[in-house]
C-alpha cells in the first residue's frame, strides 16, 4: 500500500502537468499562518513563519493539540489533485512546531468515498506525525454505504453507540460526537436521543471549572442551514454544557475557518487539508472551490489549540498550510 501510494504521488496521473514534487514546490513559497497560546487566559498569536524564533517555553501552555479536518483522501478533481500531498504538508507543519502537541484531533471526512484504501493512506501519512495519538470523529464521507460500520471497526474502539466517546487530558474533558448518521430528508446533522442522553450523563458529574472541548464533524451551531451547515439537535447538547465556565466546540465539514462566541461557548470550524469550499451563500452550491494552485495552500489548514487549566476559554487559531 505504501509503495503503491508513493508511486502514484510521484507521477503525473492527472496529466495536468502537476506532479507531487511540482505541486509541493509551488506550495512551498506561499504565505504564512499563525500559532496561538494562552497564558493566564490571555491569548497571544504568532505567525507560523516566526515559530523558529520562538522557544518551546514561549509556546507552552498547559496543553496543546492540533486539529485537522476534511482530508477527503481519494478526492482527485481539479480543486486539489493531490490531497495526500496537502495532508503530508499539514503533518510537516505539525512536526515543525517547536513544542510537539499532545495529540491530533481529526474532525471527519478522513476519506472521500469510505474506501478502505483511502483510510489506509490517511493512517499511513499520520504515522509520520510527531503526536502519536489521533482522535477521530466520522464525517458523512466516512460512513457511506454501511452506516458507519467500517469507521467503527477502524476507529471506534472503546466508543459508544455510533462512535461517540469522551476522554480526559490534563484536566480538560474532551467529547467526540457523531452527527452524520441517520440524516433525514430536508434536515441537518443529527445527534439523536441516545447520544444526547449519553452526553448528559457523561458531563453530569464534572466540576463546573472543567474546561470542555467538544468535537464533531458538522458544525454544532447554525452556520448556514440552507446548505445543511448545522445540527438539528445541537441546542439540546449545548444545554448540558451551560454550567461549565469554558466550552470550546470544534467542527469541520465546511472547509473554511469560522469562529463565534456565544456566552461560555466558543465555536470554531477548521479548514480542510484537501480543498476549500465557498463562503455561505457566495456560490450556487457548497461544492469544491477551485483556486489557482499557488493559492491553494493558503486556504487549506491545520488548527493549533492551546489550553490553560482554569476558568478561561481555550484559545483557538487556525494556521494555513502556507
Amino acid at each position: 500500500m505504501v509503495g503503491k501510494m508513493k508511486d502514484e504521488l510521484l507521477h503525473d496521473h492527472n496529466h495536468d502537468g502537476i506532479d507531487r514534487r511540482g505541486f509541493l514546490k509551488c506550495m512551498a513559497w506561499a504565505g504564512t499562518g499563525a500559532f496561538c497560546v494562552i497564558r493566564g487566559g490571555v491569548l497571544s498569536s504568532y505567525s507560523l513563519s516566526r515559530m523558529r524564533e520562538m522557544s518551546p517555553k514561549e509556546m507552552a501552555g498547559e496543553l496543546s493539540f492540533v486539529q485537522i479536518s476534511d482530508s477527503h483522501m481519494g478526492f482527485n478533481k481539479p480543486a486539489n489533485p493531490d490531497v495526500a500531498g496537502t495532508l503530508k504538508a499539514a503533518v510537516e507543519k505539525i512536526n515543525g512546531l517547536a513544542a510537539a502537541p499532545e495529540f491530533i484531533l481529526h474532525t471527519g471526512d478522513i476519506s472521500h468515498l469510505s474506501k478502505p484504501e483511502e483510510f489506509d493512506t490517511v493512517d499511513q501519512i499520520l504515522k509520520d506525525a510527531r503526536p502519536k495519538d489521533v482522535f477521530y470523529v466520522p464525517g458523512e464521507h466516512d460512513v457511506l454505504n454501511d452506516d458507519g460500520k467500517q469507521f467503527l471497526e477502524r476507529y471506534g474502539k472503546g466508543s459508544k453507540g455510533a462512535g461517540w466517546y469522551s476522554f480526559d487530558k490534563k484536566g480538560v474533558h474532551f467529547v467526540g460526537l457523531v452527527n452524520v448518521l441517520n440524516l433525514k430528508a430536508g434536515g441537518l446533522g443529527t445527534l439523536g436521543s441516545e447520544q444526547l442522553k449519553w452526553l448528559e450523563d457523561d458531563v453530569k458529574h464534572l466540576k463546573h471549572s472543567t474546561p470542555i472541548v467538544v468535537f464533531a464533524h458538522i458544525p454544532l451551531w447554525s452556520v448556514y442551514p440552507e446548505w445543511g451547515w448545522g445540527t438539528e439537535d445541537s441546542a439540546q447538547a449545548l444545554s448540558y454544557l451551560k454550567k461549565f465556565g469554558s466550552v470550546t466546540v470544534l467542527n469541520g465539514h465546511i472547509h473554511q475557518t469560522m469562529q463565534k462566541v456565544e456566552g461560555n461557548v466558543t465555536f470554531h470550524t477548521a479548514a480542510s487539508t484537501a480543498f476549500p469550499q465557498p463562503q455561505p451563500g457566495k456560490a450556487d452550491s457548497p461544492g469544491p472551490m477551485k483556486v489557482p494552485a499557488e493559492q491553494l495552500k493558503s486556504v487549506l489548514g491545520i488548527t493549533d489549540v492551546n489550553s490553560v487549566q482554569g476558568p478561561h476559554a481555550l484559545a483557538v487559531v487556525d494556521s494555513t498550510l502556507a
Binding site: L113, H141, L144, L183, G186, G187, S285
Partner: protein
C-alpha cells in the same frame, strides 16, 4: 402609400409569427415531455428536474455530475442507491403509481420527487 406597405408587412409578420408558434418544435416537445423525460441530473447539489412525472413502468436514471458524491434515497424506503461518485448513474423502474419523494442521504437538504401516473 408608405403607410399601407408598413401595415401589410406588419400583418404578414404577425401571421408568420402565429404559424411559427403553432408549428414550433419547442411547443410540441413540451407536450410530450411528461412521458419522455426519464433522466435526472445532479448538478450543483440539486436534482433536476426537482419534480419528474412519468408513466407507470418507466425507468428513471440519475446521473451525478458534481465533483462531490451524492446518493439517491427514497424517503419511504422504495429505492436506495449506493454512493454515486462523479458521473456514476443509478436507475430505478417505477412499477406502481404514486408520489416518490427522495433525497441525498449525504446532503439531506437535496430533496426532489418522482410522480408516477
Amino acid at each position: 402609400m408608405r403607410r399601407s406597405v408598413f401595415t401589410a408587412v406588419l400583418g404578414v409578420t404577425t401571421l408568420l409569427g402565429i404559424v411559427a408558434l403553432v408549428a414550433s418544435p419547442r411547443y410540441s416537445a413540451a407536450a410530450q415531455q411528461k412521458s419522455e423525460a426519464t433522466e435526472v441530473k445532479i448538478d450543483n447539489f440539486s436534482f433536476g428536474p426537482a419534480a419528474l412525472t412519468v408513466p407507470v413502468g418507466t425507468t428513471v436514471t440519475w446521473t451525478n455530475r458534481d465533483d462531490i458524491p451524492h446518493t439517491v434515497v427514497s424517503t419511504d424506503g422504495a429505492f436506495k442507491s449506493k454512493v454515486l461518485d462523479t458521473d456514476d448513474k443509478f436507475s430505478f423502474t417505477f412499477s406502481k403509481a404514486g408520489t416518490y419523494p427522495y433525497f441525498c442521504s449525504i446532503h439531506p437538504k437535496m430533496t426532489a420527487k418522482v410522480i408516477v401516473q
